[in-house]
Structures are given as structure tokens and as C-alpha cells.
């Protein structure tokens, strides 16, 4: 142990704020990066799952006739 | 048409050398630019205005200006080249001439080299010619002005060549201009450092031959590598559009 006491360890002879600020920012940013990466992976798996379920739903319904453009005018009611 | 009566195709036989193709590209770019002479002045005006901002914004004192002058001129030149890069491929892309350029049966990097040369003649070279006037205005001494012009002469083609890569990469993107600057400015730093450093060394009376040789090496490197990178980037951007 390079320090005599815990308080000396925290103070680091006056350099404590600099050292601890560095370590804090390092660990917070790394944690955010790691958690964010994990979360976006989970979100991707979820969105894939939703996509497949949506597909499965669609294939259950009798395949609707492909929509063809008619360029029919739309009636907009005016009150 | 029946298979029996099918005709045979005749393959094209005549061809054009790469040099003639480069000449064609160069001539067209020059012609287009001179049909729109007003646009040629814009980077120059920008150059002058940026230089003007420094005495106004920092200090008009002779001691400051003569020390910072080379840096000011270099930064201003760099910015005005950057400003003009967006047009390097943009108009060609919009009107379809770029497609036809890529489809020429010629090595694409040579055609890009021709285009970049034209771009330099239209933006970089005028800046070099204008530099002595502005050098006098920021109180550089005669020797420094001469060295500055030399570094600009060697350095601005490097700016155009590296810029061509960025212009090709950002072709057809939203806010391509800003993105182009983001990509390219870090790559411009060595040229800027040696451009201004050479002038500073000259002002201290050191010999500048070695520095100029180094900048020449940058130019050779950019000439040999940048057109290939720009060609690859151009194909990717066209494939996307």
C-alpha cells in the first residue's frame, strides 16, 4: 500500500480531485458504452422478433390482392 | 427475329489514348468554368475576406501581422479551396456527365487527375497569384512572401487532390459541404503545418530547401495515391445514386 490511511488515499496529496475525476469519467463512459452496446443488441433482437411475428400474422391472413394504382380521386368532405 | 437469321455484332475497334481523354476532360472543365466567370471569382473574394478578418478581429499591429501573416494566408487559402471542392463533382453528378465520365473506356484515376488539375488551375493557382498582394497587406517581408508563394504553389495541388477524395465520398449526400469539411480538414493538417512552418523557418533565416523538398514529397504522394482513392470513392458514390 502506497498510502498511510484511507483519507490519504482519497486525497492523494492534493491530486485526488484530478485522479478521481479521470477514473470516474473513464468508468462511467465505459459503462455507458458497454450497457448501450448490450441494449442496442437486445433491441435489435426484439425488432427482428417483431418483424418475424408480423410476417407470420400476415401469412395467416389470406393473401390480399396486390394493391393496384387506380388514381381515383379522393372525396374530401367539406363541412 | 429467328435464331437462324441472327446477325453477328461488330466490336468497336478504334480507340483513343488516355492522354487525349484527359485532355478532353480538362478542356471541358475549363470551358464550363470560363462560361461562368463569376464563379471563378468567388473563392478569391472569400480568400481576401478571410484574410481581412484577422487584422479586424485580432490586431492590426505590424508585429502581430508580420508574425501571423503566413499562417493567416495559409488558413484562408485552405478554407477557400475547401469551399470550392463541393463543386468538383457535384454539377457533373447532377447533369449526368459524371456517369459518362466513369463509363469512358479509360483508366478512371487519370480522368480524375485531369479534373483535379483543372480544379487547381481554377482555384489554387489564382490564390497563389493573389498571395503576394495579401502578403504585403499583412506586412510580410519580401523573402517570406516568396517562400510563402512557393509553399502555396506546392501545397494547393495537394489540397485539391486530397479534397477530390472527400468530394467523391460525399457526392450526392445531404449537407455534403459540411461533411466534406469534417472529413478533409484533418487530412489537410500536415500540409498546413509544413506550409506555415517553412515560412517561419525562412523568417528565422534557416534554409528552406529541405522543407520544400518534403512538401514536394507530399505532392508526389498525393499525385500517386489520391486519384486512385478518389476513383474508388466515386464508383461507390455513383453506385449509391
Amino acid at each position: 500500500m502506497a498510502f498511510d490511511s484511507f483519507s490519504a488515499f482519497i486525497a492523494m496529496e492534493g491530486h485526488g480531485p484530478y485522479v478521481w475525476a479521470c477514473y470516474a469519467v473513464f468508468f462511467v463512459l465505459m459503462a455507458v458504452l458497454m450497457a448501450g452496446s448490450l441494449r442496442s443488441r437486445k433491441a435489435m433482437v426484439e425488432s427482428c422478433r417483431r418483424g418475424y411475428e408480423f410476417q407470420a400474422d400476415k401469412s395467416k391472413v389470406a393473401s390480399a390482392p396486390a394493391s393496384s394504382a387506380s388514381f381515383a380521386r379522393v372525396n374530401v368532405s367539406q363541412d | 427475329m429467328n435464331a437462324e437469321t441472327r446477325l453477328a455484332a461488330q466490336l468497336a475497334s478504334s480507340r483513343v489514348g488516355a492522354l487525349a481523354a484527359m485532355k478532353g476532360v480538362f478542356a471541358r472543365d475549363m470551358k464550363v468554368a470560363f462560361r461562368q466567370r463569376q464563379d471563378l471569382l468567388n473563392p478569391l473574394l472569400f480568400f481576401i475576406m478571410v484574410v481581412t478578418l484577422f487584422p479586424l478581429g485580432v490586431s492590426p499591429e505590424v508585429s502581430f501581422l508580420s508574425q501571423a501573416g503566413a499562417g493567416i494566408l495559409w488558413v484562408a487559402a485552405l478554407l477557400s479551396v475547401l469551399l470550392s471542392l463541393d463543386h468538383l463533382f457535384r454539377h457533373d453528378f447532377d447533369d449526368g456527365t459524371l456517369e459518362q465520365l466513369v463509363l469512358q473506356p479509360q483508366p478512371l484515376f487519370l480522368l480524375i487527375l485531369a479534373k483535379t488539375t483543372a480544379h487547381w488551375m481554377l482555384t489554387g493557382l489564382p490564390l497563389v497569384i493573389l498571395a503576394p498582394v495579401l502578403g504585403v497587406m499583412v506586412h510580410l517581408d519580401g523573402n517570406s512572401i516568396a517562400v510563402l508563394c512557393l509553399t502555396l504553389l506546392i501545397g494547393t495541388p495537394v489540397l485539391s487532390l486530397i479534397g477530390a477524395i472527400g468530394a467523391a465520398l460525399t457526392l450526392g449526400l445531404r449537407s455534403a459541404g459540411v461533411l466534406l469539411s469534417l472529413l478533409i480538414i484533418p487530412l489537410y493538417i500536415p500540409v498546413l503545418i509544413f506550409g506555415t512552418g517553412t515560412v517561419a523557418a525562412a523568417a528565422e533565416g534557416a534554409s528552406v530547401g529541405a522543407y520544400l523538398a518534403l512538401m514536394g514529397a507530399f505532392l508526389v504522394l498525393a499525385l500517386t495515391l489520391a486519384p486512385f482513392a478518389a476513383a474508388a470513392a466515386l464508383k461507390i458514390s455513383l453506385s449509391n445514386g
Binding site: A2, F9, Y18, V19, A21, M30 | I189, P190, A229, I236
Partner: protein, 247 residues
């Protein structure tokens, strides 16, 4: 030989193998990093010149080292993308660029904070910090370009060109920044170049570098898997994985 190469390039194969390795990477990385950091913070002797502020070195050097090696790794992968069009290589470049950005930022931040007790100022235009700042710009450019191009494949290839161009420039930038630095202010003090570092200092340093390397490996795997899932959504194996949870 080529079969192995292509197998290595297969996203499915990578997905399976990386899933198996990831827990080990994470556990080993965290363990090593913590060991290095605790040792460095509490047990390593005080530096006779800088006092305790030098303890920042145990995260500054790993992040700075990783920031640079990540770019080199990206450039190698980018070259593979351009030459062989290996699918995994461009996935790697895309997945890893933000990690590189964060690491570069951390290196800059810790370097700058370290500067305050050492030089008495938050920022100094020292060659290392300046090179690191330029590296940050390069990472920023790569990410900006990747975000700006809609089509995934075009984005991957455009980014690959940019990264390769950048890596050609890195030695030039480094050299010119060093030269510029000597021109303007003769270097009086270097952050990490000590005449001889005692083992009690460099062993924890080595541990934290290794630890961060492993954590980077884990991060790369997680982010690459995300990217692979997004790209290969329509393949059968992804569907099977998502619905049944195995590759």
C-alpha cells in the same frame, strides 16, 4: 486456405464463435483492468517527480494506446473490405468506430486533466495531445460519413476508403505534428516517457492495457453481432436464433 478465409468471413460462423467467447472476454477484461487499476491506484509507489497525479497513467495510456490500435485495426479491416469484400470486415469497421471515438475522447480527457497538476494548465498544445485531437477528428469523420449514407453496403465501402486514406495520413500527421511542436516549443516534459519505469509501475500498466484490450474485444463482438443481426435479418439462421435462441 480460401475456404478457411471465407468461413472466417461468414457472419453465421462469427456469430456462433463470438457468442461462445464473449463471457470469457468480458470476465477476463474486467478482472485484468480492475487488478491493474487497483494496483496502480493504491499500491504502486508515488512518482518522485509528479507525485500522485501520475496515477492517471493507468487509464490514460491504455485508452491512448487502444485509440490508436483500434484505428489501425479498422484500417486493416477496411483494406480487407475493399480488396476481398469480406462481409465481416466492414461490419467490424462500422461497429468499432464509435468505440474508438470514446477511447480517443477518454485519452484526451485524462491527458488534459493530468496536465492541470503537471503543467498548471488544462490544455497544452503538446504533440501527443494534438495528435490525439486529430485522431478524434478522424474518428468523427468516419462516423459522420457512415451516418450520412443510407445504403448499408455503400456506407461500408465509402467508410473503408476514408479509413484507409486516414491511415496513410496518420504517420504523416504524427510526424508533422512532432516537427511543429519542436518548432514552437522545445519539449521540456513528456507525459509517459520515463527514463526507467520500475516494475511496480509498468506491471499494473500492462495489466490495465490487456484488460482494456479484452473489454474492447467484447465490445466489438457485441456491436458486430448487433450489426450482423440487422443485416442478415432475412436469413434463416437469424430467424432461428431470434425465435429459438440458438445459432
Amino acid at each position: 486456405m480460401w475456404q478457411i478465409f471465407h468461413k472466417l468471413g461468414s457472419p453465421k460462423w462469427f456469430f456462433g464463435i463470438s457468442t461462445r467467447f464473449m463471457p470469457w472476454l468480458l470476465a477476463g477484461g474486467v478482472l485484468l483492468l480492475m487488478a491493474g487499476v487497483v494496483w496502480g491506484l493504491a499500491f504502486a509507489p508515488k512518482d518522485y517527480l509528479q507525485g500522485n497525479s501520475y496515477r492517471i497513467i493507468f487509464i490514460h495510456v491504455p485508452t491512448a494506446f487502444m485509440a490508436q490500435s483500434v484505428y489501425i485495426m479498422m484500417a486493416s479491416a477496411a483494406l480487407v473490405t475493399l480488396v476481398w469484400r469480406m462481409k465481416l470486415a466492414d461490419v467490424f469497421v462500422k461497429a468499432v468506430a464509435p468505440v474508438g471515438l470514446v477511447l480517443t475522447f477518454l485519452a484526451l480527457f485524462t491527458g488534459s486533466v493530468w496536465g492541470k497538476p503537471t503543467w498548471g494548465t488544462w490544455w497544452i498544445w503538446d504533440a501527443r495531445l494534438t495528435s490525439m485531437l486529430i485522431l478524434l477528428f478522424l474518428y468523427g469523420g468516419v462516423i459522420a460519413l457512415d451516418r450520412a449514407i443510407n445504403d448499408e453496403k455503400s456506407a461500408a465501402r465509402a467508410v473503408a476508403v476514408l479509413v484507409v486514406v486516414g491511415v496513410v495520413n496518420i504517420p504523416i500527421i504524427k510526424y508533422s505534428v512532432d516537427w511543429w511542436n519542436t518548432l514552437h516549443q522545445p519539449a521540456t516534459f513528456k507525459l509517459t516517457e520515463k527514463p526507467s519505469m520500475p516494475a511496480e509501475m509498468w506491471v499494473p500498466l500492462l495489466l490495465s492495457v490487456l484488460g482494456l484490450y479484452l473489454i474492447f474485444g467484447w465490445l466489438a463482438c457485441v456491436r458486430m453481432q448487433t450489426e450482423i443481426l440487422s443485416r442478415e435479418q432475412r436469413t434463416r439462421w437469424v430467424k432461428e436464433f431470434v425465435l429459438k435462441g440458438r445459432v
